[in-house]
Symmetry: C2
Subunit: 235 residues, 2 copies
Amino acid sequence: MSTLRPQPRQLPPASNGTRSRLTVHAYSQIRARIIRGELAQNVHLVELDLVRKLGVGRTPVREALQLLESEGLAVSKGGGRLRMFVAPMSAAEQLEIAEMLAILEGYAAARLASFAADARSSVVEELKQIHAAFAHTASMKAPSEERLFEKHRDFHAAIVRNARHSLLLSTHAPVSARMERYEWLYGHRLPGTLRSSIAEHAEILGAIRRGRANEAERAVRANWLNASARLKTVL
Amino acid sequence: MSTLRPQPRQLPPASNGTRSRLTVHAYSQIRARIIRGELAQNVHLVELDLVRKLGVGRTPVREALQLLESEGLAVSKGGGRLRMFVAPMSAAEQLEIAEMLAILEGYAAARLASFAADARSSVVEELKQIHAAFAHTASMKAPSEERLFEKHRDFHAAIVRNARHSLLLSTHAPVSARMERYEWLYGHRLPGTLRSSIAEHAEILGAIRRGRANEAERAVRANWLNASARLKTVL
DNA sequence: CCTCAGAAAGCTGTCGACATTATTGTCGAC
DNA sequence: GTCGACAATAATGTCGACAGCTTTCTGAGG
């Protein structure tokens, strides 16, 4: 791995599972449209429509849809013929996702806090940078929603990525993707909650820096359960 | 849901994600052969070989392989052309899986213990039955390895299934499948550990029955970490 | 005996065809 | 006007073909 380039802006490759070029292309396109809400819930995803729209054959489209299904962003219904739909959203699902993230990221944070001092400090350094960027963006007069969204996601992703637990990482990815849908759809309607979010992130960061595993875990869990409650008010 | 039938012997459908008939067939066949070790780790899974062996076209085989990859039982390597292999096994992976199961099932057990008394008792009843069957099989002169394996899996699966958390359930399934490989391969070489396993299961059961969420969570975590250590001695 | 270039073979990526089935639309009977 | 049967339509399941890339085999040269 070359760590020379100034920051390849390693966009999260969405999930694990290597696929061929066209499949990845179709997958990324559809996935982005679902997360951003451009494809509304329960919309029927017809293979040939996507074939025409994306300019690829049925095979890559089919594989992309199956990836999305395993990620939980699409669901297939029907007895004989299985038809694909954009997964529905609900308060109940949102709560389940938040609880799952609380558990997974809570464990990740606890691991980070258990690292030796030197390893911990380098992790804390990375988290600090992301946190600072997030707080800085939030403090602007007209914060870029896109950038807020990105920095918030990066903060949580960094916790899991640094936990050095590949199964935890690959388990976390699809769950996180499902939550992004809710964050994107409802996030920018929550003006007064940025302050809470920042404060909670700071608490997580502090607990990790001081090496308090239990505190870190509780802080992460509280953060997600609070975030879930905040999102719920808009649902 | 009709609870009339005496016990449809609801075999775990392996994982979530509805697929068509031939795909499910191919998937089940290959999956069973991987878990039972009949397909050794790192074996190259060639599409046309499986096509010939299973008597279906390339499409179902391909989809089955992709399901297995998303489950972690197969891995795809290669720069341009992606070739599929049976996922390798290692002590490190086994530990990660056990840790993940400890977290997920620990949370499930804590939820069960938090249920109201009546809901809890019906769950405890089911667990008791499975536990009794497991203990009974273990006490026989020549216990059926197949049956021990099945009852052990059922006990853990029942905990998660009863937690009434669909995301937790679908997240747990593939992780559990990966652990089954290790259990099947090494389980029957661990003669003296059945006693420990039974004792730990009893402790889990007791904690749930008494409604002690924290105890239940700790008991489940301890059970998996101990099981991991037991398995490790044979690796 | 080893090395490297060229040739051959083996697999996968991608595509569209064909068959099958669910769904929708239509028409007639009551 | 409503219901039901039948026909038309649309979408998916499944398959094999073709092309292209990797790997492997072969053989000549050192």
